[in-house]
């Protein structure tokens, strides 16, 4: 599959057309979607229309944007006008948003071609895409295994070579972990770097939209297009999109990189082995490696599984059968709300709503939610202290390679543990990237995670570039 950068270059030069690229993408989707269940909706008509309009602009010599003609897969929690958007849930089956998420407007302005909406864990709650109301997505590298979650469909779209780019969302690791399990580059931007307007909310203080790609340059390209201040999002950082491609080849000479014990403890052997080899590669490229311990990271899981469900319990209250989506009729409106939500939400969503409601309720707020918010402050402070000693941190993205379907579904805690290395970054609001490096059992990919302070995407992508070169992927 061509990289996104190659497609843009070909479309702009006339070596290819947007329509040809999109047609090729549609073929790839058609040939594999039934088996893999990647896309919940393929927007064939919309994609071809968009492609043709890009080609018209090229023909007229008009500028077409940084992503001209590039097919892109969109996680189904991104609102796209007139396109079915379900967030992987039955409660939004058939809902057509009347507006575009800001990131989608930016993609369109850059000439990108949205191909359709990808499968995900219901309301982004999960780490395997097994909680989707529309069936699981299969990992293209091994269809008996999960692609990770919650952005499993988006990761699979790229890994299956249906599209070179995809957008996912990351609240506790939902871009990075699927990237790791599918052998892709996945980045969670600094909180506020990318607008959340139009992203169906899971946990408002943690959610961020980010890129999934086969290489660092493509990820950088996509992030440059979607990042930057948005007046429609009050939590959006004030600055415009950072320059990322320009710094891609900065290297890591002289950079101090901290290998964090708590980001590898409990990981499978081959995952640890990959991390160690990645650390060597960074050292070979001129980085100074420091071994660190940040014990506060161990508190992340508990804090996250109180904060995220609490916010989610509130964010998901609006699904009440009144204004859109599923409605199950009843004698009175409260009974209607209850019947609708009971049928419309899956077990994991119900679990988290109840957990969150409990954590916020009178008498328990201080011990649980209130306490978790304080732990979060401690997490932020711990990161700041670490970044006084080093520029970046390194560790594993997730403890295992892609696991078999059903392996972690009997016990919620087992699934939650998949996020143990990714969660701290979300709590702090910082940035992190997963880069494929080496393989584990059954030749399945391992993801190595690089973490940086807020607004360090350029550094992270440069370090990711070093790793991918070292891993033999020019």
């Amino acid at each position: 599959m061509k990289s996104a950068r190659q497609i843009v270059s070909d479309v702009q030069s006339g070596a290819s057309s947007a329509e040809a690229e999109v047609t090729s993408s549609l073929e790839a989707i058609r040939s594999k979607n039934d088996e893999l269940n990647v896309f919940l909706f393929v927007d064939e008509v919309g994609a071809l229309d968009a492609a043709r309009s890009v080609d018209e602009r090229v023909a007229k010599g008009e500028s077409v944007g940084a992503l001209a003609g590039v097919p892109i897969a969109l996680k189904d929690n991104l609102c796209q006008r007139g396109v079915p958007t379900t967030a992987g849930s039955r409660i939004l089956k058939g809902w057509l948003p009347p507006y575009n998420a800001t990131v989608i407007d930016r993609l369109l302005a850059a000439g990108a071609v949205p191909m359709g909406k990808t499968n995900m864990d219901e309301f982004a709650m999960g780490s395997s895409t097994e909680t989707s109301a529309y069936g699981p997505t299969r990992n293209p590298l091994d269809p008996t295994r999960v692609p990770g979650g919650s952005s499993g469909g988006s990761a699979a779209a790229v890994a299956a070579e249906m599209t070179p780019l995809a957008l996912g969302s990351d609240t506790g690791g939902s871009i990075r972990q699927p990237a790791a399990l599918c052998g892709l580059v996945g980045l969670k931007p600094t909180y506020g770097l990318v607008s959340r307007y139009g992203l169906i909310a899971f946990s408002s203080s943690l959610d961020q939209i980010g890129p999934l790609a086969t290489n660092a340059a493509d990820a950088a390209l996509l992030l440059e297009v979607i990042a930057g201040h948005d007046p429609m999002d009050s939590t959006s950082l004030p600055e415009s999109a950072p320059l990322l491609l320009a710094h891609l080849d900065d290297g890591v000479e002289g950079k101090r990189v901290g290998l964090v014990r708590e980001l590898v403890e409990g990981a499978e052997e081959e995952v640890v082995a990959s991390v160690n080899r990645a650390v060597e590669a960074l050292r070979d490229a001129g980085a100074v490696i420091v071994e660190l311990s940040v014990p506060e990271f161990r508190l992340g899981l508990s804090a996250y599984y109180l904060i995220a469900p609490a916010e989610a319990s509130s964010n998901l209250a609006r699904y009440d059968g009144v204004r859109y989506g599923l409605r199950v009729d009843a004698e009175d409106v409260a009974a209607m709300n209850e019947a609708t939500r009971t049928l419309g939400f899956g077990a994991e969503v119900k679990r988290r709503i109840m957990l969150g409601t409990y954590a916020l309720s009178a008498g328990y707020y201080d011990a649980y939610y209130g306490q978790a918010l304080k732990v979060r402050t401690q997490m932020i402070d711990a990161f700041r202290r670490a970044y006084q000693q080093v520029d970046l941190l390194v560790g594993a993205t997730t403890p295992t390679v892609a696991f078999k379907f059903g392996a972690k579904t009997s016990n919620p805690m087992a699934m939650y543990l998949s996020d143990v290395y990714t969660i701290p970054t979300n709590l702090a609001g910082d940035a992190a990237i997963s880069v494929p490096f080496g393989t584990g059992e059954s030749q399945l990919p391992v993801g190595v995670q690089l973490l940086g302070p807020g607004r360090s995407e350029a550094q992270l992508l440069a370090a990711a570039r070093v790793l991918e070169l070292a891993d033999g992927r020019p």
């Binding site: 991104l78 169906i200 009050s234 409601t357």
Partner: protein, 475 residues
């Protein structure tokens, strides 16, 4: 109304006012009353998946103005979510302020000399409106309800008083004074009937000197009169209940204006747990000194000061003039009265015309300038217009604006020349010889008869005083 000896009512008022902004609290939809249902909505105020709130700076300015006018402390504040399910709430949570409101503390001095403390005045968003079908149109007995979200997201300030009010009369004064302040700051138009200002009363009773009794919240007070009546009813109800050995249950009660009583609203099985937590989609609000100073500078003159200014211009006011003074200030007509007094119009006349004619068409007051008001009253005072004519001119000015003399001319309110008047009187004397004889003999009551007849013949264009003078001259 008073309770038994040694007992008192304790009342606190919660006033919600809609703010006079062009757009809603968190989105750019129009903040407009009376539009067709669901025509001023967007993803944000409909709470669609993916929508996010962005705070309206004018709502903050007005909230601060209210705080300053109430002598509150403006502090750093945050927004919180108040979580509960209700169909008129698109997100099934309301964005409000909880433990860190923008304004806290403060007080309101009332015209009777009493002071009521203010606990807080905070920002929050309004809900949509539901209408109930089937049954009486009230919620009980309805089959289904219809929801309009035009009002959803309109900015509100909620003002909570301390439990300092001790009578329904005082409550009414508080509400009227607060409304005057809200209008004076430009924050609100204070229209209770339209719902832009809503009052709930917390009422309890106790023996003087004892701890506070259990209170009930009374809702559905749509006018100052309802407020007054409801408080009296509720205090009496609680007192009688306690006298009879009963216990007041803490609950919310609905005031029925027709029946003149409060009744229990359907009680919920358990108290609402709103699970307040900080709104993660908004950031903290920290108005610095410069911002607060700027608002202070735009504050304008509050009703108390305006009352004092007008009062000073009234020499030996009668009690009805003092009543009229309150009405005039509350309605913001003091500028009109002052303009008239400056033009040498009699204060009684100025106050009367303001409290009556102007008050009858408050909506259109902007069509009338204080100058035009003064000119019209001067014409009446000088005898160029009769009372009836002057009122007509004022109403015309209110309806369509214009110049008093032009209007008078157009309506043919020409001053009846003394010659024409004389001819008219002569004609009447000829038509009514018996009455004229009795008048000449001293029956003064017949002045009214002749004035009435003159008015009939001249279509009300004669000046009453001139007629009297003419009659006396011929006696």
């Amino acid at each position: 109304m008073s309770l038994a000896e040694g007992w008192e009512m304790v009342v606190g008022l919660e006033v919600h006012t809609e703010l006079k902004t062009a757009t809603k609290m968190f989105c750019g939809c129009a903040n407009a009353f009376g539009a067709e249902a669901n025509t001023h909505v967007c993803p944000v105020c409909l709470g669609l998946p993916g929508s996010l709130p962005v705070l309206n700076v004018r709502a903050v300015d007005l909230a601060m103005a209210i705080g300053l006018a109430l002598h509150s402390t403006i502090a750093s504040s945050t927004f919180h979510r108040k979580n509960y399910f209700y169909p008129d709430m698109p997100k099934d949570f309301q964005i409000s302020q909880y433990d860190l409101p923008i304004n806290s503390g403060g007080y309101l001095d009332l015209p009777d000399g009493s002071r009521v403390s203010i606990e807080r005045a905070h920002l929050e968003e309004d809900t949509g409106k539901s209408t109930h079908l089937g049954g009486s149109g009230r919620i009980h007995g309805a089959d289904r309800s219809l929801v309009d979200y035009n009002r959803s997201g309109v900015p509100l300030v909620e003002i909570v008083s301390g439990p300092d009010i001790r009578s329904s009369a005082q409550a009414r004064l508080y509400a009227a004074e607060l409304r005057g302040i809200l209008i004076a700051t430009g924050a609100s138009d204070g229209r209770m009937e339209e719902g832009s200002m809503r009052i709930d009363a917390n009422v309890s009773v106790r023996q003087v000197g004892q701890p506070l009794g259990t209170r009930c919240e009374v809702k559905n007070l749509n006018s100052l009169r309802s407020l007054h009546r409801a408080i009296d009813f509720e205090a009496a109800r609680q007192f009688e209940l306690i006298e009879g050995g009963g216990v007041v249950r803490q609950e919310t009660r609905h005031w029925d204006e027709q029946l003149g009583q409060t009744s229990t609203m359907r009680t919920k099985e358990e108290a609402d747990d709103y699970r307040y937590f900080r709104e993660p989609d908004l950031v903290d609000l920290i108005p610095d000194e410069a911002w607060q100073e700027r608002i202070r500078g735009t504050l304008g003159v509050m009703p108390a000061e305006r009352r004092a200014t007008l009062r000073a211009r009234l020499t030996s006011p009668t009690s009805s003039q003092l009543d009229a003074l309150d009405v005039v200030v509350v309605l913001g007509f003091d500028d009109y009265v002052l303009a008239a007094i400056d033009a040498q119009v009699d204060t009684s006349l100025a106050m009367a015309r303001a409290a009556n004619e102007l008050a009858s068409d408050v909506e259109h007051i902007s069509n009338l300038t204080p100058d035009a008001f003064a000119i019209t009253l001067k014409m009446e005072q000088d005898g160029e217009l009769s009372a009836t004519q002057a009122k007509t001119v004022l109403l015309e000015l209110l309806a369509h604006g214009g110049e008093p003399r032009d209007i008078a001319k157009k309506k043919g309110f020409e001053q009846l020349s003394s010659g024409a008047l004389g001819d008219t009187v002569s004609e009447l004397i000829a038509q009514h010889p018996d009455e004229w004889a009795r008048y000449r003999d001293g029956d003064d009551k017949l002045v009214q008869f002749f004035i009435g007849e003159v008015m009939k013949l001249t279509n009300g264009q004669a000046n009453g005083k001139a007629v009297v003078a003419e009659l006396q001259a011929r006696r």
